[in-house]
């Protein structure tokens, strides 16, 4: 699916660019986006090293054990068949903690660590494992408790009640997450059903 989306975006940009007369902008974007990607990568690289280091200390100090104990009752229903005392689950718990606290800069490096460890533990080869999909859905649906970015931009543009959106945000995120997880579980039955019989 990523193949089709990637190709469609590139082809559509050329067609749209020609139609809107903005082909020069498209040309510039084609040449410069890779440089932006490297800048973003450097930013991510720093974050990954920094949070990878802190994660290691947190593991040795048994902080991740405490966190995973906290999340286990909820997450054991989502991550079926995953070792709940394993290293992948620890990284997942750290990633969720960062997400809940609204620390996007920390959540991505910790999430990458979790994906890497999921791959080591589950050895899925070139096809995603069920738990990887669940973890992706958890991260693509926002589970932030306090929408700090939205609130601060609302203040900047003169909102009289920047936090009034909070109940709407919480209900919307919870329902979106539920919809994502339910659809993943439902599609999972179709895709992985055969493999589980073995």
């Amino acid at each position: 699916m990523m193949n089709k989306i990637f190709a469609a975006m590139l082809i559509l940009s050329v067609i749209c660019g020609a139609a809107t007369g903005r082909i020069q902008d498209v040309c510039n974007a084609a040449l410069n986006s890779c440089v932006e990607a490297v800048e973003l990568f450097l930013y991510l690289l720093g974050g990954m090293c920094m949070w990878g280091g802190l994660m290691r200390i947190a593991e040795k100090a048994k902080i991740t054990d405490m966190l995973s104990g906290l999340f286990k009752p909820f997450l054991k229903h989502i991550f079926k068949g995953l070792d709940l005392n394993g290293k992948a689950f620890h990284a997942i718990c750290m990633n969720i903690t960062a997400n809940l606290l609204g620390l996007g800069n920390a959540a991505t490096p910790l999430g990458l660590e979790a994906m890497r460890r999921l791959e080591q533990e589950e050895q899925p080869g070139d096809t995603t494992s069920r738990n990887m999909i669940m973890f992706i859905v958890l991260n693509t649906a926002s589970i932030t408790l306090i929408p700090t970015t939205a609130a601060s931009l609302r203040i900047k543009h003169g909102s009289t009640a920047p936090m009034e959106i909070l109940p709407c945000v919480l209900i919307t995120s919870a329902c979106a997450l539920a919809a994502g997880l339910i659809s993943a579980a439902a599609l999972d039955g179709i895709h992985f059903g055969k493999r589980r019989d073995k």
């Binding site: 749209c16 200390i57 003169g158 659809s183």
Partner: protein
């Protein structure tokens, strides 16, 4: 207030680490070194994604799709001003923030469209970026229904952001 969260979080890890007699500096550099190597696996996916997004944003395709799907979103009660935001949100975080700011300059943050845009920003994530980068660090090529399920969550988020604002704030 929120400026306290990260520094306190880090300090807390250090305090507990020292209390448990962890070799904090050695462990930090070991963990960092391990991620330093694996980080490079993400770069190809980032370059592919950023090029596709950058070209698409520059082409004006977003505006074309926005006007094409306007009748449908009107039927769902989703404000016209927020369509470009919903379209860019799944692919680009910085792009979404730029569109969000331009919406807040056009209409008041306390108007219906302003509130819906705020809920969209607060309750959704950059789906494609996350999927591309997260799978980019693994050898996984076939992502099965990861995209479909994540987009189900996004779509639910867009529809409900308009619905909750209408029900709760009016």
């Amino acid at each position: 207030m929120s400026d306290f969260v990260i520094p306190v979080f880090i300090a807390l890890i250090m305090v507990i680490g020292l209390a448990k007699r962890v070799d904090v500096f050695g462990e930090f550099t070991d963990g960092a070194k391990e991620n330093l190597k694996s980080a490079f696996d993400v770069l190809p996916a980032l370059i592919a994604l950023m090029t596709a997004i950058g070209m698409f944003k520059a082409s004006g395709g977003l505006e074309i799709i926005s006007s094409a799907i306007a009748p449908l979103t009107e039927f769902l009660g989703f404000p016209r001003e927020c369509i470009p935001l919903a379209l860019i949100r799944p692919v680009s975080g910085s792009g979404a923030l730029a569109v969000f700011e331009s919406i807040l300059t056009e209409v008041s943050p306390d108007s219906f469209a302003g509130r819906v845009a705020s809920v969209v920003i607060g309750s959704t994530e950059t789906t494609f970026y996350t999927i591309a980068v997260y799978y980019g660090i693994t050898k996984v090529k076939k992502t099965k229904h990861a995209i479909a399920s994540s987009l189900t969550a996004d779509l639910t988020g867009f529809i409900l952001s308009a619905l909750t604002v209408r029900l709760i704030l009016y």
